[in-house]
Symmetry: C2
Subunit: 242 residues, 2 copies
């Protein structure tokens, strides 16, 4: 099943996709780079790619076991995973359990407040536009996805949240919110893609309330690496090997 | 039916509401002030209040004739109308027929492009937050309106658009978009409130494409008064008396 990378298909801010000899399969490599505010702020730390790759692999395996269709196939190396090649839906789906980030300003509710149900938001994946929030009418106008596909994505996103919330809770982590992306694999199935880790999720220590995710980097809180390592330890189940 | 104003109930950026001796009825007075960008930009011109009041009165009468429930009862003076006292739904409903304003940046589509169907957007009426765009989940969290009420508002907003589009078209005006507000009157009916004019609608000359609405003020295009007067002439049916 493992393939050698032979060509860069796509290089993004935090990941590189390599083609393999199987057109249905690609390798997703996690970079050590960190970006925020639409790549206006940049950073890096050695090992971040491997940490996020293994957190994502653990969570994708868990989700697959629970019946959520995912792109993940196997780990290829500490920072590379073999995944289904997807045609992505150009939307980011944000699932929120507590108020943080842009939602504090949008609703005028203090950070940390628990939401009475998970809130879903759609963002149009367009770096040049700053990934704006969109509603269903906008999505229809842009023909990004049909209503039926949006309903399916919403259901999968909420199911993913239902699975991850208790998983994190049992490990002393609060899942504040997360960004998910979906795409179509070569069999025509809609599956969860991208990554799930401290780059794309807000995770707080349940005991201290300490932010452990990319907000440490965004907000210049320091100890960015240590935050990611704490997420790794709780999710993967052992300390990061150095 | 006419009442003397005896107390200011509310003073907004462009209108003042006065209580009357009938608790079910208020007087809505249109100010000559113009504001934009959440009142960071301010202006005024003599007669603007009367122009907008009479445009709104004409449009509310038309909508009422066509079966849309409205707050409007009668004109009290050139810049004052007698209306149902409403408990407002704290949402602005924007109906868009063409791309303009914030939608150009949100979707990356050039200004003026026709939308294949009218797009609805919801904004949370909160000056201190800058009236942010919200989706149905946000509205549910904030308990601003039930899903049934949102559906009813959406239907009324689209019906209003269906009535006004040909009305304007026959008068050489393109209705690019408009902001509507709804509220509950003393009988518990949901009715269209606020105002409908060049302050709250984008209206372009169908022949020349010239902007005639508040965008002249927002964008420093000059001849703001002349733009509003052109809208008045087309909608009310005769020139502004000076």
């Amino acid at each position: 099943m493992l393939q050698q990378p032979d060509a860069t298909l796509y290089e993004g801010k935090a990941k590189i996709l390599y083609a393999t000899t199987d057109p249905k399969v690609v390798i997703q490599e996690f970079k050590d780079d960190l970006t925020a505010f639409n790549a206006q702020k940049k950073g890096t730390f050695f090992g971040k790619g491997a940490i996020n790759c293994q957190i994502s692999a653990t969570l994708f395996r868990l989700l697959a076991e629970k019946g959520v269709p995912v792109h993940f196939r196997s780990l290829d190396s500490p920072r590379r995973m073999v995944i289904d090649r997807l045609e992505m839906v150009p939307l980011e789906v944000v699932v929120r359990n507590r108020v943080a980030g842009s939602l504090t300003k949008r609703l005028g509710i203090p950070e940390g407040e628990e939401l009475s149900f998970p809130v879903i938001e759609w963002y149009y994946k367009r770096d040049d536009l700053g990934d704006p929030m969109v509603n269903r009418d906008h999505i229809r106008i842009l023909k990004l996805a049909s209503d039926a596909v949006l309903d399916e994505i919403r259901t999968l996103a909420l199911r993913t949240n239902e699975i991850l919330l208790p998983f994190y809770r049992e490990r002393g982590l609060i899942l504040v919110d997360m960004k998910l992306e979906f795409g179509w694999n070569s069999s025509g199935s809609l599956v969860l893609g991208d990554e799930i880790d401290g780059d794309t999720s807000r995770l707080w220590d349940a005991g201290t309330g300490e932010k452990l995710d990319k907000d440490r980097f965004r907000m210049d809180l320091g100890s960015v690496k240590e935050g990611y390592e704490k997420i790794y330890e709780r999710v993967v189940g052992h300390a990061v090997e150095s």
